[in-house]
Symmetry: C2
Subunit: 319 residues, 2 copies
């Protein structure tokens, strides 16, 4: 028996057919399938392409698929989710069960192996998402960079720019962030970086990349940088506590999966997040998953069929 | 004797030839001339076009011009300023004196009639700019929407989105801003507005337009909205106080010109700004200019020739 897990994003889309013991039958990567960034026709073409590549590796397996779980970015809206679901059903043999859901599920299950819990994703953007014991899901955040999105790489980078320019203007505390920005942009004075920031086609990514500067300055004991990390980490803690309060019992030690580039520096955030959660009289177990998100998609597919993956599965999908 | 004042921006460029008593000899409006948004060739074409239109109204006056003052957006960098200066010199008769400077000068002089002072511009973006008694200029802010730019329409709009989504997520205080956002976007629930905000081609303008919602909610006694106004107004006060401290004597009652769309609701900001300035042991006279920025450009041109405009000038250029 096989399932297919799909991890769909705005840059690329990965699909893996696997057994519950982790044996990989077929694996392929195609282009973007985020319905907010590609049109319906391109989306269908990419998925068609994915299936062709997978079939080339094992044609018979493809027709023995039990379940396809597609964890996709950009399918938060019910209409969009239905649209993607219909495309997948049309492309797959009649007997295959198809589930489409947001990509946060992949991230959550990559850490909880299909169990309920909370996932906090802090990459360029940020979102906190939960599935509880009754299968109910909820979220906070993830409303995009124009709505603040504290805890995201973008928010950290924007805070870095703001702090540096406030210091430059004589309105804020001097900070090591300023020098690191000059070094990063190879600029002589701060106003010279403006052009480089705004000229960049993907301004959001560029600003998010500056989050590394905040971390470096914090490592150097810079108090402004440490303040930025404090503020953002407290928000992460609040977001987790919010979902834990709303969707879990007070006594639950809820698994909380932390993923995304920001958590490469878990050491800077962990204690602050944990303290904030404790201040809400809650307990949780923070983990950074060793498995790739695509592993979580396959876990989700097996879970839909009532199957729990075993330890050899985890070994295969651990990076 | 005549001078030409130019008010150049990213949308349009206005030029008026006038006497120091305010008599308007010729007046024309052409396209954008912000060197950051149009190329050198288009910039030259627009200015050429402006001069042609002015000459059609009074050919002889054009050749009797004493001074051209061009207050232009986007000429903050010395290289850019020089480039625009050269274009103007090439297009004008040899004997004409040409001055190019940032458009904040137009705004400042539209309020001080050529006297030293501070101008704070709060439109989509924000900047605080000063010219002191020694003719030295300085600035704080104006580093673009990715660097915070508190006090700007964009900052107020972003704060509104953030507050509404924090409340929606259960992480922030409920606020009337949420309902006003739903009404503005004709949406049933908050997440439905996301698409409308991000789909907009000019996201910056769209977000800035939400500043009106903050003001409306504040009028209704909403404490979250009042908090947003408080935070931004304090920053405005700090920016003014900063330039006043750096560039003026402690005893000076410095004229502070407030311009830009945000100050259509001066009543919401004035007391907070004044309090902040007083907390720095400073005194200033806040004014909202009655004159259009183009009037300030003509004032600047006359000023360069050592001429002060008279009261009849002010009457003509008052909107």
């Amino acid at each position: 028996m096989y399932v297919l897990g799909i991890d769909g994003g705005g840059t690329k889309t990965k699909g893996i057919i696997a057994k519950s013991n982790g044996e990989i039958i077929a694996e392929a990567t195609v282009g973007p399938t985020n319905p907010n960034s590609v049109d319906k026709w391109s989306l269908k073409k990419e998925l068609q392409n994915l299936f062709t590549l997978l079939k080339q590796q094992c044609d018979s397996c493809f027709f023995q698929l039990k379940h396809v779980f597609a964890g996709m970015s950009g399918v938060g809206h019910p209409t969009t989710k239905e649209m993607v679901q219909k495309i997948l059903v049309d492309l797959l043999p009649d007997h295959v069960h198809v589930t489409v859901n947001i990509d946060a599920i992949n991230a959550l299950y990559s850490g909880t192996l299909g169990k309920p819990g909370i996932v906090q994703i802090a990459g360029t953007g940020s979102i906190t998402f939960s599935i509880n014991h009754d299968g109910l899901s909820d979220r906070v955040g993830g409303w995009g960079y124009l709505s603040g999105e504290m805890g995201s790489g973008f928010a950290l980078g924007r805070d870095a720019l703001e702090a540096a320019f406030l210091a430059y203007d004589g309105l804020g505390t001097p900070t090591a962030i300023s020098n690191f920005l000059l070094e990063y942009f190879q600029a002589a004075k701060l106003p010279d970086i403006i052009h480089a920031v705004y000229q960049e086609k993907n301004q959001k990514e560029r600003v998010a990349s500056l989050s590394k500067i905040v971390m470096r300055a914090a490592d150097n004991g810079d108090q402004v940088a440490q303040g930025i990390i404090q503020k953002n980490a407290v928000h992460m803690g609040k977001s987790i506590a919010c979902l834990q309060t709303k969707r879990f019992s007070k006594k639950d030690r809820v698994p909380v999966v932390l993923t995304g580039g920001i958590y490469n520096r878990l050491d800077l955030f962990q204690a602050i997040i944990e303290k904030e959660i404790r201040q809400h009289q809650l307990e949780s177990i923070l983990t950074v998953p060793k498995m790739e998100p695509i592993g979580g998609a396959i876990v989700a597919a097996w879970r839909e069929e009532g199957v729990t993956v075993n330890s050899s599965f985890v070994k295969v999908f651990t990076r």
